[in-house]
């Protein structure tokens, strides 16, 4: 690990000031991703601003019936929070499907949002990687790419955003609140992460010194919802494909649907096309399949990840089918 200056920030004002004063500084929250990346020399900041003591660890109800979640809240505490478990069960399921108990006990909401890809070449400094070092190439395209993305990729980069939590937040229309020395602003989750295009090293629309302070969830919908994750082993593995879905069926017709995908794209992927096909359609397996096909039509596959198209299709259909059954029993 490269030498760096360490600043422990007691409050938000100190944190954003320290980041503004030291270009290229990184915020340290739980450290479960940043410490790893610094040790591997993938991240080489001159200054680290430790935000792990900031008092942004609460869940509050908003006036509009939603929740505001502090950015430093730990993943384990958020998953266990009674208001999250009862009103947004999909979010609890997604959080508990991620990492291990030990990691969830350190990982924070802000860090989970901004965690970097798990593309093995991004971590391996001996290989070319446009994301790590722009202009060097992409070792994944001709290499081991079984875990890589099929939607939203570019010739420059085919890495996935690996978060489970973010997939649920995408389906729930979360809004991210950020602050820097200039002030505060709100960013819909859908606009937080960028697609790679020819600048895969630019992953978000945040300025480097902007601090995520909270995440706001709109009022919950009553519809049955679920997070379903498919991976190589039953626990403690990143998603090959995951689906966050909520489905409201009235008289056999899809009245409302929220659908987001993980493990298949460079950002938490809101399945807008599938939602469009489903809304107002009969809640049947045929419609679910048509919706999955519409979403996956633009998929571009590599040698190793062709299976993800069929896996995503089946996971979408199975999740919607289960939710339709659950809704009709209610």
């Amino acid at each position: 690990m490269k030498d760096f200056a360490y600043v422990a920030a007691p409050d938000v004002a100190t944190a954003v000031r320290a980041a503004a004063d030291a270009p290229g500084a990184r915020f340290l929250a739980g450290g479960t991703n940043l410490v790893d990346l610094m040790r591997q020399h993938v991240e080489r900041p001159d200054t680290v601003v430790d935000i792990s003591r900031l008092p942004l660890t609460s869940v509050e109800e908003t006036k509009s019936g939603g929740l505001r979640i502090g950015a430093l809240m730990r993943n384990s505490d958020l998953a266990a929070h009674p208001l999250v478990r009862t009103r947004y069960p999909m979010l609890t399921q997604a959080l508990l499907a991620g990492a291990s108990a030990q990691l969830r006990n350190m990982a924070t909401v802000g860090g989970n949002l901004l965690q970097r890809t798990r593309c093995p070449y991004f971590y391996d400094r001996a290989t070319p990687c446009h994301k790590r070092e722009p202009g060097t190439g992409c070792a994944a395209v001709g290499g081991f790419n079984r875990s890589h993305a099929i939607l939203g990729t570019s010739a420059s980069c085919v890495a996935t955003h690996p978060s489970d939590m973010c997939v649920a937040l995408a389906a729930l229309d979360a809004v991210v609140e950020v602050e820097d020395v200039r002030g505060t602003r709100r960013i819909p989750l859908a606009d937080l992460h960028r697609l790679p295009g020819d600048t895969p090293h630019l992953e978000t629309t945040l300025a480097p010194d902007e601090l995520i302070t909270s995440v706001e969830l709109p009022a919950p919908a009553a519809a049955p919802s679920r997070y379903r994750k498919v991976r190589d082993r039953a626990s403690f593995a990143f998603a090959l494909v995951s689906v966050a879905a909520a489905l409201e069926v009235t008289d056999g017709t899809v009245a409302a649907v929220r659908l987001a995908l993980g493990g298949v794209a460079p950002k938490p992927w809101r399945a807008v096309e599938a939602e469009r096909v489903l809304t107002g359609a009969p809640a049947t397996e045929e419609s679910f399949r048509a919706a999955a096909d519409a979403e996956l039509a633009p998929a571009v596959t590599l040698d190793g990840n062709e299976f993800k198209v069929e896996l995503a299709r089946r996971t979408i259909v199975a999740t919607l089918r289960d939710l339709a059954r659950e809704g009709s029993r209610a």
Binding site: A8, V48, S100, A101, Q102, N105, M106
Partner: protein
């Protein structure tokens, strides 16, 4: 920098700590506590598991400064004056230790589970210990150990 941590109930101070050191390094190399092990240094194996303020974490991914002023309990701090902790005894009794490298981390993770939920089902035990890898035992004896320690704990509470 100077780091002060309450370790196993005692206030401990380490001087000249480099900010890039991990909590694991501070415990092992500066405070003479080699119980928590360093295997992967990537959060993948759990052999470095310690309690940080009452929750198990991977000490290899905690920066030294993050632990400042907090309390840590390592595997060395589990046994009381009169012998091993019941979770440790259960690992011995069931033969859940082979090379032993994963054992300290597993004991801390199992200790937390047994105290939090002595009625855990097998599926819940597996999930709670998913972050701890063992390449020797095949896990069956580890499950036996946790079941035994949990049953003992449940008995105490009944």
């Amino acid at each position: 920098m100077r780091v002060t941590i309450e370790v196993n109930g005692e206030r401990r101070t380490a001087d000249d700590v480099w900010p890039g050191e991990s909590l694991l390094y501070v415990l092992r190399e500066r405070l003479g506590l080699p119980g928590a092990k360093n295997a992967c240094e990537q959060g993948e194996c759990g052999s470095c598991t310690v309690y940080l303020d009452d929750t198990p974490v991977c000490a290899c991914l905690v920066a030294a400064g993050q632990a400042e002023g907090r309390s840590v309990r390592t595997v060395e701090g589990l046994a009381g004056g009169d012998g091993l902790d019941p979770v440790q005894e259960a690992f011995v009794a069931t033969g859940a230790v082979q090379c032993g490298f994963c054992t300290p981390g597993l004991i801390v993770a199992a200790h937390e589970l047994v105290h939090r939920d002595p009625g855990a089902t097998d599926a819940e035990i597996r999930e709670a210990l998913a972050g701890n890898l063992c390449r020797c035992t095949g896990y069956e004896k580890i499950l036996d150990a946790v079941r035994l320690a949990a049953a003992k704990k449940a008995g105490e509470r009944a």
